[in-house]
């Protein structure tokens, strides 16, 4: 009798949990699904009320984002493709530089003692605490004077500046988990420290580098505040372009939705590619010690 009741309660709990998870999933993925569907709808279908579920896919949104087909020539699509190119260049170059510098700085901070190391590490971290809005105006003026306003170079610099601190900290953590004996054995065996770093230590923190790159790439790809102030036409990145996309016929929703989907995809691809390293890296264990 009581066993049966317990079973019933168990069942109820199971269904309750399932329901909660369903709500959570819809809450999270619903907007993305909505976005994806909307990106394929023509203007008429988009505004139909009640919403249409069966419609002829309209690819003009994507055409304008990638700068192909008939939509390429339309005034409303001007610059969306260029901003995608900008985003890809700024994010990948910025991430590469930030990870490169962060790896070197992280190694130095992990292995060497130098005067002011604690202050240096705090300063480096504090660059990430800074609310961008607080200094936007000054960057705007500085970049204008230096000729960096509305250039990809300028945005790459911003991206490196914003991410190198994070990269340094994460990489320091990974290097800390590599025993110093690795280099000590190499040096006593007649190798240089540089050899030990490149051929023994770096392979041990591969996962860490991938994880760091992942974080930096997301931050760079999603960066909005600086790009919106420091660019006007030439170097506009995709997030900024989406927020300001409007054409002769008002706001181009189809185009915005297509661009939104395009904005999500690189992050997904990137994380799919590094997922193995990421899981390993996220644990910060790097690998089993021998």
């Amino acid at each position: 009798m009581s066993a049966a009741r317990n079973k019933a309660i168990d069942h109820l709990g199971r269904w309750l949990l399932l329901g909660l998870l369903l709500i959570y999933t819809v809450y999270n993925l619903g907007p993305i699904l909505w976005l994806m569907i909307s990106s394929l709808k023509g203007r008429a279908d988009l505004f139909a009320m009640p919403p249409t579920w069966i419609f002829t896919p309209d690819l003009t949104g994507y055409q304008s984002v990638f700068g192909v087909g008939a939509a390429r020539e339309s005034a409303s699509s001007f610059g969306v493709f260029d901003s995608l190119v900008n985003s890809v260049i700024v994010s990948s170059v910025g991430t590469t530089l930030a990870v490169l510098l962060g790896t070197l700085a992280g190694y130095v901070c992990s292995r060497f003692d130098f005067r002011g190391k604690g202050d240096f590490l705090f300063f480096v971290l504090s660059t990430r605490m800074l609310p961008p809005v607080a200094v936007l105006v000054f960057y705007h003026i500085m970049f204008a004077k230096l000729g960096l306003a509305d250039t990809r170079t300028g945005l790459v610099l911003i991206s490196v500046f914003a991410n190198v601190g994070l990269a340094t900290w994460i990489m320091k953590g990974f290097f800390d988990s590599v025993p110093r004996e690795v280099e000590q054995i190499a040096i006593v065996s007649g190798y240089s420290r540089l050899y030990a770093f490149r051929h023994l230590v770096l392979p041990m923190v591969k996962g860490g580098i991938a994880a760091t790159a992942g974080f930096c790439f997301i931050f760079a790809w999603n960066e909005f505040a600086f790009s919106s102030i420091l660019t006007t036409t030439q170097a506009k990145t995709l997030p900024v372009k989406i927020s300001t996309a409007s054409g002769a016929t008002g706001i181009e929703w189809t185009q915005i939705c297509a661009a939104g989907v395009v904005l999500i995809i690189p992050v997904l691809i990137f994380f799919y590619l590094i997922r193995k390293h990421l899981l390993m890296g996220m644990t910060f264990g790097v690998l089993g010690r021998s």
Binding site: P179, I187, V188, Y191, H199, L200, P203, L287, G288, S290
Partner: protein, 363 residues
């Protein structure tokens, strides 16, 4: 006596104001195994790192094979090192781990010579069957064999072994220790072997150096150290069980321990550099006899090891542990009596621990 292979003079090192080495003086002779024996944090690892050139010292000098290498690069010092825990390079397999030193720019050998040497060394340490394995698949004992093989594959002037066997279980430890000893005999190598394990030290070493708080207190054969421990600390570290200490008083040309029937004449302590007053009396447990009469004590604990048994005896002025020579059985809580053999014992300063007896003269 062989020429010195390694000479350390007055090595000092402080980490963030905390001294790690406070003037280490140490000599390792050619073809000997010197055990650097001391508790955790005594400065053993720092001494080895400084010798290898992996740690900069604040003061002092390092001479290797007669050459001053104090400022020399670690990669040029011609030493091999084995660490306690982490040792293998996980990005290389076992064979490449062992061959690693022979492929370095400084100690490079031809590949066929490397293959020969790796094969021979692996055979010596009985790990030939592991050569193509990944380091991650090895057991603790196998890993340590591989790391010792990597050190032995080269013939450096000096081997530095930093607690190489401590992470292993007793049986493996004893086996590997014997092998190290055999390899040493065969190849006439010079080894500096850091350990906190007294048994390990006397089993492998020709001579022992006692280190504590960044200072070498005494160097010598185990017999020399037994005959004249330089400080009370040495007595506490050496022996199994270690030296027994009693609060005693020097009075009327004798050493008296409160509560003891026995009074030890001062003439039995060699030249004594002590004024009348309180001292610490140290006695090797082997010099204490459990007797029917004499100084009273209580059996605090009995440790039956099957082939022998050991007791801990509490007295009013000190505690001692000793292995029983005969098959007499004691029970916990029993009253007992003991006597100190004539001429045994050492006097130490109660506060500094310095040796006060045996100042020259009779030992």
């Amino acid at each position: 006596m062989n020429a010195p292979m390694l000479e350390l003079n007055g090595l000092r090192k402080a980490y963030r104001g905390k001294p790690a080495l406070s003037g280490v003086d140490l000599t390792v002779r050619s073809n000997e195994i010197l055990a650097l024996l001391g508790p955790t944090g005594a400065g053993k690892s720092s001494t080895l790192l400084a010798t290898a050139g992996l740690m900069e010292t604040d003061r002092g000098s390092v001479h290797l094979g007669g050459r001053d290498v104090t400022g020399a690069e670690a990669s040029s010092r011609d030493v091999s090192i084995v660490f306690e825990g982490f040792n293998l390079l996980p990005v290389l397999n076992v064979r490449d781990n062992i061959a690693f030193p022979l492929r370095s720019p400084r100690y490079r050998e031809a590949e066929d010579e490397i293959a020969k040497r790796v094969g021979r060394t692996a055979e010596l340490l009985r790990i030939s069957h592991l050569l193509d394995r990944d380091t991650g698949t090895l057991s603790g004992g196998e890993k340590q064999r591989v790391s010792i093989a990597r050190a032995l594959v080269r013939r450096p002037m000096l081997y530095l072994l930093d607690e190489p066997l401590s992470a292993l279980d007793l049986k493996l430890r004893e086996g590997l220790r014997a092998e190290l000893r055999a390899i040493h005999r065969e190849h006439q190598s010079t080894m500096l072997y850091a350990t906190h394990d007294y048994h390990g030290a006397i089993a492998i070493a020709d001579r022992i150096a006692i280190i504590n708080e960044g200072r070498v207190l005494q160097t010598g054969t185990i017999e020399e150290i037994y005959a004249r421990p330089a400080e009370a600390f040495v007595g506490r570290l050496i022996g199994s069980p270690s030296m027994a200490f009693f609060d005693a008083v020097v009075k009327d040309n004798a050493v008296k321990v409160p509560g003891w029937a026995q009074s030890l004449p001062l003439s039995g302590f060699g030249g004594v550099n002590a004024k009348p007053g309180p001292v610490s009396l140290g006695i090797w447990p082997e010099d204490i006899r459990m007797t029917g009469d004499g100084n009273p004590g209580t059996i605090y604990a009995v440790d039956n090891r099957g082939y022998e048994s050991a007791v801990q005896v509490n007295t009013t002025s000190g505690v001692f542990r000793k292995v029983l020579e005969d098959k007499r059985s004691f029970k916990q809580g029993d009253a007992c009596h003991f006597r100190v053999m004539d001429g045994a014992g050492f006097l130490f300063d109660r506060t500094t621990g310095a040796l006060l007896s045996h100042q020259g003269g009779a030992q």
